[in-house]
């Protein structure tokens, strides 16, 4: 599947297939991170973050592909790993790929994404049903009727009520975390 097709899939909200495909670019990133003092888990975490950044960008309306997805992902991972590992060791960086984008191409995207990590943590910490409900509604844009059926709520209204309760819980938690 070529890059353009991947972008089209993202924009038409067909993510599952997309992510499986995008992992084909993972081995090179893993190699780079392992070669520079990282472990397999670091590689997975960093790559996941890069995927999220990329996905967000590609899903935004009017997105146009200016570099190959491979290069984009690799460059982000390289940048993030350099930042992270600089705290741990100061050695010369072993380059795996020669072609990388300059920071200016993606630093804004990374920073934008990082602002939401607290909110995401709050959502992930919600109970499973709350989380599933919120994701089904807000991300997958499923109708309340369908959600009620799937999740076993008595009526559409119940689902709606539940949704806002979950949101409230999340909001309160977010307020709390932010004030700390």
């Amino acid at each position: 599947m070529d890059d353009q097709k991947i972008v089209e899939l993202i924009q038409s909200h067909k993510h599952d297939k997309v992510f499986t495909t995008l992992y084909k670019y993972f081995p090179v990133v893993k190699k780079m991170i392992l070669a520079n003092g990282g472990r397999a888990e670091d590689a997975e975490d960093i790559y996941q973050e890069a995927l999220i950044v990329f996905y967000r960008k590609a899903a935004s309306p009017g997105f146009v592909l200016t570099a190959s997805i491979n290069t984009y992902l690799y460059s982000i991972c390289r940048f993030m790993w350099m930042e992270q590992s600089r705290k741990q060791q100061k050695q010369n960086f072993v380059e795996i790929e020669k072609e990388t984008l300059s920071e200016t191409e993606f630093i804004a995207d990374i920073e934008a994404e990082s602002q939401f990590s607290l909110a995401e943590k709050v959502i992930s910490d919600l109970g499973e049903r709350c989380r599933e409900l919120l994701i089904l509604f807000y991300f997958h844009s499923k109708k309340l009727k369908d959600i009620a059926a799937k999740m076993g709520y008595n009526s559409e209204n119940t689902a709606k009520n539940q949704k806002y309760k979950c949101l409230e819980a999340a909001k309160n938690r977010l307020k709390l975390l932010k004030s700390m």
Partner: protein, 746 residues
């Protein structure tokens, strides 16, 4: 809905642009007045982003799982996935959900007989929803359940009642209880007999063709991946036994072994920890495997037998003694040839200190020859050729205990976790034995053991052969390496001796030339002196060399003065007491300075008088070349300088007294010699030719010595990295020249 919730609804509509124009304006006015409200809106917006992020993350995690699974399947040779089956399964699921909105609590309709052919069904069977998949037995299939358990089912893996592989389509039945809710719904417990278990998830799997249940072919097992948040060590697979009261007891625990996947063994890193990093940080090219290998393996010389070590030591001591003596001798004669002050090793031998410890025991470390023996294609498809083993190697290196390494190599047919536990309890006593102790000596290996790593599929062939190979090769390599290394240093010793000899010869040559020069100059001076005095020179008595008293009284004084004057190169001013005539021969100073003198490695200045058959070297007085010129002679000047591989030159045809500052020009050696040839007489150019050849020799020698120093430095620096258990010792290690082109090819 509560007020607060209604507010959230309003905010949401505002964010999504669902408010009417009027409402929107009103809301914005409210926002302007109330900063608290603004905050609420902001938070909600942020939450939306958080939800998006969480959703994307979920998808990404799923993608990672699929990627890993596909990777494993490829290695297993399972290809040709039938995705259609998955779709069929999820459609079925969806339909059941819409049909009965209270699907949660109604019992399922069950077939008459269970998978074992009896009529006993448990609550779990009744109350957990069935996921059904249609399978084509001719193809490998991957099935993913609703909660994310993935089954990889090879083709022909189901057997009918007669033990033959089922053909055509079969129905796969799966029930899962991964979530707490499902576990409760199914009345499942997490007890095995009386023991309480911590569950990573439970599932039911069966395959039917028609009404009959099929069995799974034990040789062709199904691979299941159960999703969990963390991999807990010590997880085991229990079989579920239905009890009469409808519950399930969990029995027959089998440890879950993670199968190892072999990779290209040469792509793994078997070096001691930080070996490559250190070399890299010192500026070496670590992609040059020949270099990194030969440097590391050369340390095998530290493991040769004690007897040989003693012999070796004795030999090295004698070499050292001879060299020390020669060095001392030469140092005494070095003054004349001393040129640029930067040149420190011209003629000076580095003092190799061979007075190290015993080369054999106790040497705490892993013998590199052992690593060399197994870091080899021969061990592909064994547990050594896995990332899992590579993970353990740094720890093995750090134990500095060869027996730990041996454990892994000698037990290739066992599970990796078994070997890990053996390693944890291993200690070796100094005499080379290894024993198991009651308490863990190497606790870090217990953590490895807890991971339950298993074996490489079909990696158990030829274990005995490989064991024997390993032992044989380790010994062989150790000896071969020691031999190569000794030969290298032996050769260096020889070269050192040759160099010392050559220098002696050169000394003799120099002395001879000086003597000859003196003789000729003296002749010249005497002739001139006598000419000025108007007298005839007496023939010298046979057998009376100049420099001694001449036994003719009358002329004694003249000769003596001339000799003295020539020797000291001072002006002769003699008056014949008889006739009052004078004999005057002037010696006038010449001082030559070289521009940028300090930048060259060596600088040499020569005088080529027409009247002598050879050349004279101008003495170097701290960078200024000074000599007294004899007014009777016509001098040519030649300056030579060298920097690295470059040569520099200057010549002057008529050199007179005074001061001269010389600016050298870069030239090729060929041109330099040609120029000298044109400038001087044949005998002189020949003498200079010999001189230049000698300079070449000294240059090459200096280079060789520099390389030896570099090797020595690298050895000393890397040794504590390779053998972290030994404190830094002096240069008792001897290694192969891995910096030059002699990289030992074992």
């Amino acid at each position: 809905m509560r007020k607060e919730l209604e507010l959230m609804e309003t905010i949401e509509n505002y964010i999504n642009g669902k408010l009417s124009a009027a409402d929107k304006a009103a809301f914005e006015k409210k926002m302007q007045a109330d900063p608290q409200l603004q905050k609420e809106v902001q938070l909600q917006k942020e939450l939306m982003e958080g939800i998006t992020r969480a959703a994307i993350k979920q998808s990404a995690q799923k993608g990672l799982k699929k990627y890993k699974l596909n990777r494993n399947l490829k290695n297993w040779g399972l290809t040709g996935l039938t995705a259609a089956v998955l779709v069929a399964g999820s459609v079925f699921l969806y339909n059941t959900a819409t049909k009965s909105p209270h699907a949660g609590n109604a019992p399922n309709e069950l077939p008459e007989l269970n998978e074992q052919g009896s009529k006993l069904w448990s609550d779990a069977d009744k109350y957990l929803p069935l996921q059904s998949f249609e399978l084509n037995t001719e193809k490998d299939t991957v099935v993913e359940t609703q909660d994310g358990i993935v089954f990889a089912i090879p083709a022909h893996t189901f057997l009918d009642a007669g033990g033959k592989p089922a053909t055509g389509t079969v129905q796969l039945e799966i029930k899962e209880a991964l979530k707490a809710a499902d576990i409760m719904k199914g009345g499942l417990n997490t007890k095995s007999g009386d023991k309480l278990l911590e569950t990573g998830g439970m599932f039911y799997i069966n395959a039917r063709q028609g009404d009959a249940s099929l069995k799974i072919d034990p040789k062709n097992a199904i691979y299941a991946e159960v999703p969990s948040d963390e991999a807990k060590p010590g997880m085991q697979l229990f079989e579920g036994k239905r009890l009469a009261d409808g519950s399930i007891d969990w029995v027959n625990p089998k440890p879950i072994r993670k199968d190892l996947i072999p990779v290209d063994i040469l792509s793994l890193d078997f070096y001691p920890p930080h070996y490559l990093d250190s070399l890299k940080s010192w500026g070496y090219d670590i992609s040059n495997k020949k270099f990194t290998d030969s440097l590391y393996y050369s340390f095998a010389t530290l493991f040769i037998s004690a007897e040989r070590a003693a012999i070796e030591k004795a030999r090295q001591d004698s070499i050292a003694a001879v060299e020390a003596a020669l060095a001392a001798e030469y140092a005494a004669k070095i003054a004349q040839y001393d040129s640029a002050p930067v040149e420190e090793h011209w003629g000076k031998e580095p003092a190799w200190d061979y007075s190290g410890d015993d080369l054999y025991h106790p040497w705490e470390g892993i013998n590199p020859a052992e690593i060399k023996a197994v870091w080899d294609e021969k061990f592909k498809n064994t547990l050594l050729a896995t990332r899992e083993f590579e993970e353990r190697l740094p720890y093995i290196h750090r134990t500095c205990n060869s027996h730990v390494l041996d454990l892994y190599i000698n037990n290739l047919d066992k599970n990796l976790c078994t070997i890990d536990s053996m390693a944890a309890f291993l200690f070796s006593d100094a005499e080379g034995g290894s024993q198991m102790s009651a308490s863990s000596q190497n606790p870090e290996f217990l953590q490895f053991a807890a991971r339950g790593d298993g074996k490489v599929k079909n990696g158990e062939k030829n274990v005995e052969l490989l064991k024997a190979y390993y032992q044989q090769k380790s010994k062989m390599y150790t000896e071969a390496i020691a031999k190569t290394v000794n030969e290298f240093w032996g050769k260096q010793g020889e070269l050192n001796r040759d160099a010392a000899e050559k220098r002696s010869e050169q000394q003799a040559k120099d002395q001879q030339r000086n003597a000859e020069n003196f003789k000729q100059e003296l002749e010249l001076n005497l002739d001139e002196a006598y000419r000025q005095l108007g007298k005839k020179r007496p023939t010298p008595l046979p057998g009376s060399p100049y420099g001694l008293h001449i036994a003719t009284t009358g002329w004694y004084n003249v000769d003596a003065y001339v000799i003295q004057s020539t020797q000291t190169r001072t002006t002769l001013d003699y008056t014949d007491p008889e006739t009052g005539k004078k004999a005057v021969i002037n010696y006038e100073p010449l001082s030559v300075t070289i521009e940028n003198y300090k930048e060259y490695d060596r600088v040499l200045v020569y005088l080529l008088p027409d009247e002598l058959s050879s050349f004279q070297r101008m003495p170097n007085m701290n960078g200024v070349f000074e000599e007294k010129l004899n007014e009777l002679m016509r001098y040519k000047l030649v300056c030579l300088a060298y920097k690295g591989d470059r040569s520099f030159y200057f010549s002057k045809d008529e050199m007179g007294k005074g001061k001269l500052s010389v600016s050298l020009i870069e030239a090729s050696d060929k041109d330099i010699e040609a120029n000298i040839g044109k400038l001087s007489k044949r005998s002189q150019s020949k003498a200079m030719h010999d001189e230049l050849r000698y300079i070449d020799f000294e240059k090459a020698e200096a280079k060789r010595q520099q390389q030896l120093v570099k090797i020595k430095e690298l050895t000393n620096r890397i040794r504590p990295v390779i053998f972290p258990c030994m404190a830094a010792k002096t240069d008792s290690a001897i290694i192969v020249d891995s910096v030059g082109d002699e990289a030992g090819d074992f």
